[in-house]
């Protein structure tokens, strides 16, 4: 059977009077077509820019109405766009493919929106590809539905077949007319997901989000989390609805219920006391406070925390985020699975860890432990003994007045001793990098410094102090340069170890950094 072809062209050139400065032309073209299709056939629509409506019904025909709207600043661009943007209809009764063809390397002077309205027999399978759509709507379809999009609102209305949806931004809405009978796989990055179900539905629900909340008005049975992934049963359980959005929220509503009464499946209640093990289940927090009186606690999956002053102890645990504390009068304990930490004047003991990111500490008056699995560590003043560890990145300490233990798997270590201290215990190790130790000319220590290198002509050990002896020996294919001895009559042990780098022990007249006395 030949497809019935009806094309009506309505090309209109409009000069928009409202855009006096940026006058533009717009043309609209409509194409209407109809094709036969098998009841178990498939319709594939690939439309990068513009809305798509697919509506299921009776019969055995696919009918398509396409509106192409081009906006361009001048007649030349308009013609170029019109000539190059095409529509393609391909396939047979098993698969019908309709596509918007765009030229490669697009001219940014024009924009196009192509809107499809496609009516199909409800048993047909549907597949939609999109980049930017005002909306994509699939309604009353019993076949399977696949949507792969980037931005826009996706509405799945009365879709009874299995569905798989993948979006990045925008919003995803599932509106079930009857209780679900097939599984749905909904994946997004930033989009919010809303699922409306008849109250008597039986569904196995899986949800996953890093940032948003997981909310429902259903009474969920057997709720449990494995990592950030939530599992629960609605009614007796049934086909799986998997809702996953990294930054958005998931809402599953019983039709007719009040969305404001939705309960969080995360540990969201007012009385909930966060425990460290469930940090990823805590809702997001954004905290910006000039000061906080008393002990400050924040536990959140994702948190951006900025507090000017904590007049007490501080405890912050977060899965990811940026933490900035101006001053902490008591102990400070910050653990982040990832993200930079910027800490000011910490008057009590400090414990700071991040899974990845730089850590900057203005002052750790009592010392403490600072670790990152990858990133730079910079401490301006270390008043007490400190342990610093980096899984890759430089370590820089501008002034340390007590024992210092610094280690990085790859990066340079630069340590400067408090000139008021005649001796200080130092341990510094880098597995790929240089070590620079700056101390005052009268600094006394028992030095044990080692370089292990494949290139002994490049890597060297230099010092301004007398009293060290050095030996070189071959260890496998590497050379070990080992310097030992007492400087200024000896003192605490200074142990430095660098692989594939230099060691420099330098005598300098250092100006001490003085910390202001905190106002309490």
């Amino acid at each position: 059977m030949r497809p019935i072809l009806r094309i009506s062209l309505a090309a209109v050139a409009l000069l928009s009077a409202t855009q006096l400065l940026g006058a533009s032309f717009a043309t609209s073209t409509r194409v209407v077509r109809e094709f036969p299709i098998d009841p178990a056939g498939s319709v594939w629509i690939d439309n990068p820019f513009g809305s798509v409506d697919v509506i299921g019904g009776e019969g055995h025909m696919v009918s398509v109405t396409v509106d192409r709207v081009i906006t361009a600043p001048d007649a030349t661009s308009m013609k170029a766009a019109s000539d190059n943007i095409g529509l393609s209809f391909e396939g047979d009764t098993k698969v019908r493919l309709m596509r918007t063809l765009l030229p490669p390397g697009r001219n940014a002077r024009w924009t196009v929106a192509v809107n499809y309205v496609v009516r199909i027999p409800r048993s047909v399978n549907v597949k939609i590809g999109s980049k930017l759509a005002e909306h994509i709507r699939v309604a009353h379809v019993n076949g399977s539905v696949t949507v792969n999009g980037f931005s826009g609102t996706l509405i799945m209305e009365g879709v009874n077949g299995a569905s798989a949806v993948n979006m990045v931004n925008g919003r995803i809405i599932y509106d079930y007319a009857q209780q679900p009978v097939s599984k749905a796989q909904v994946q997004a990055v930033n989009a919010d997901i809303d699922i409306y179900l008849p109250p008597a539905s039986n569904v196995s629900w899986v949800a996953n989000t890093l940032n948003g909340d997981i909310l429902t008005t259903f009474n969920v049975r057997l709720p449990r989390f494995s990592g950030t992934i939530f599992h629960g049963l609605i009614g007796k359980g049934g086909p799986t609805i998997n809702t996953e959005t990294m930054m958005g929220r998931v809402l599953v509503l019983a039709k007719g219920s009040n969305p404001n009464q939705a309960q969080s499946m995360r540990q969201n209640s007012a009385n909930h006391q966060p425990v460290p093990s469930d940090v990823m289940l805590q809702p997001k927090q954004i905290i910006q406070l000039p000061y906080f009186i008393g002990d400050f606690t924040s536990v959140a999956s994702i948190a951006d925390v900025t507090v000017g002053e904590v007049r007490g102890n501080a405890r912050i645990e977060t899965g990811a985020g940026e933490v900035e504390l101006g001053a902490v009068f008591g102990q400070c304990n910050v653990t982040s699975l990832g993200g930079p930490l910027n800490l000011g004047d910490i008057m009590g003991a400090l414990f700071a860890h991040t899974g990845a990111g730089d850590i900057i500490v203005r002052a750790a008056r009592m010392g403490g432990q600072v670790t990152t699995d990858g990133g730079l560590i910079r401490v301006i003043v270390a008043g007490g003994p400190m342990t610093l560890r980096s899984g890759g990145g430089d370590i820089i300490v501008r002034q340390f007045s007590a024992a210092m233990d610094a280690e990085t798997t790859s990066g340079d270590i630069t340590l400067t001793g408090d000139p008021h201290q005649r001796t200080l215990k130092v341990t510094a190790r880098t597995l790929q990098g240089n070590i620079i130790l700056n101390v005052s000319p009268r600094f006394g220590a028992d030095i044990d410094a080692t370089i292990l290198t494949t290139d002994p002509e490049v890597n060297e050990l230099t010092t301004d102090f007398k009293g060290l002896t050095v030996r070189r020996e071959q260890v496998g294919n590497k050379t070990r340069i080992h310097a030992t001895g007492k400087i200024n009559g000896g003192g605490e042990r200074v142990e430095l170890y660098a692989e594939e780098g230099d060691i420099q022990i330098s005598s300098q007249n250092i100006t001490p950094i003085k910390l202001a006395t905190p106002k309490r």
Partner: protein
Amino acid sequence: MKHLNDQELMSIVQAGDFAPASELYDRYSSRIYNFAYRFLRNSEAAEDATQEVFVKMLKHANQFHGGAKLSTWLFSITANHCRDYLRKSENKSKEGEDVLATLPASAELSPERHMERREDEKLIQKALGLLSHDQREAIVLSRYQGLSYAEIAQIAGCSEGAVKTRVFRAMEVLRKALTGDSRGGDRCLTAMP
């Protein structure tokens, strides 16, 4: 020498010092030999080819430009040599019937497994023998040397599109020979972009 990269070694050779020859040989001889062996299907001819390629590398070092990868350049020399060899040998006799004769036996394998492996190798070598020279060159460089189509095109002196076709045709032949599968050729509709 080990700490110098290929470019640095070649610049020493270009300056007239052949001291890096041994290091360069160690880096590439295995890849060159295996390519030649699979292309020619004859171990003795592959040995000669390997020796010849490294001598040419030194003689014509000035033709090597820093912008290219040394491996690509060496494969080009090898491919040229092998094509010449095949052209000449075809006039004399059928190529490489004895290819497996000089294969070293692996100590870790049981005699049965060893025989099995020999059978597999024979089958594959035979299948490779069904290919045209161009196809064989393309599939060996792609499958066994892991080169990109762009690199193969450079070596074979043809377009990337031609390489794509050669590999595809080679795979069609190999599939039939190795899996006994002769499907294919039907047309169907496209997929989503």
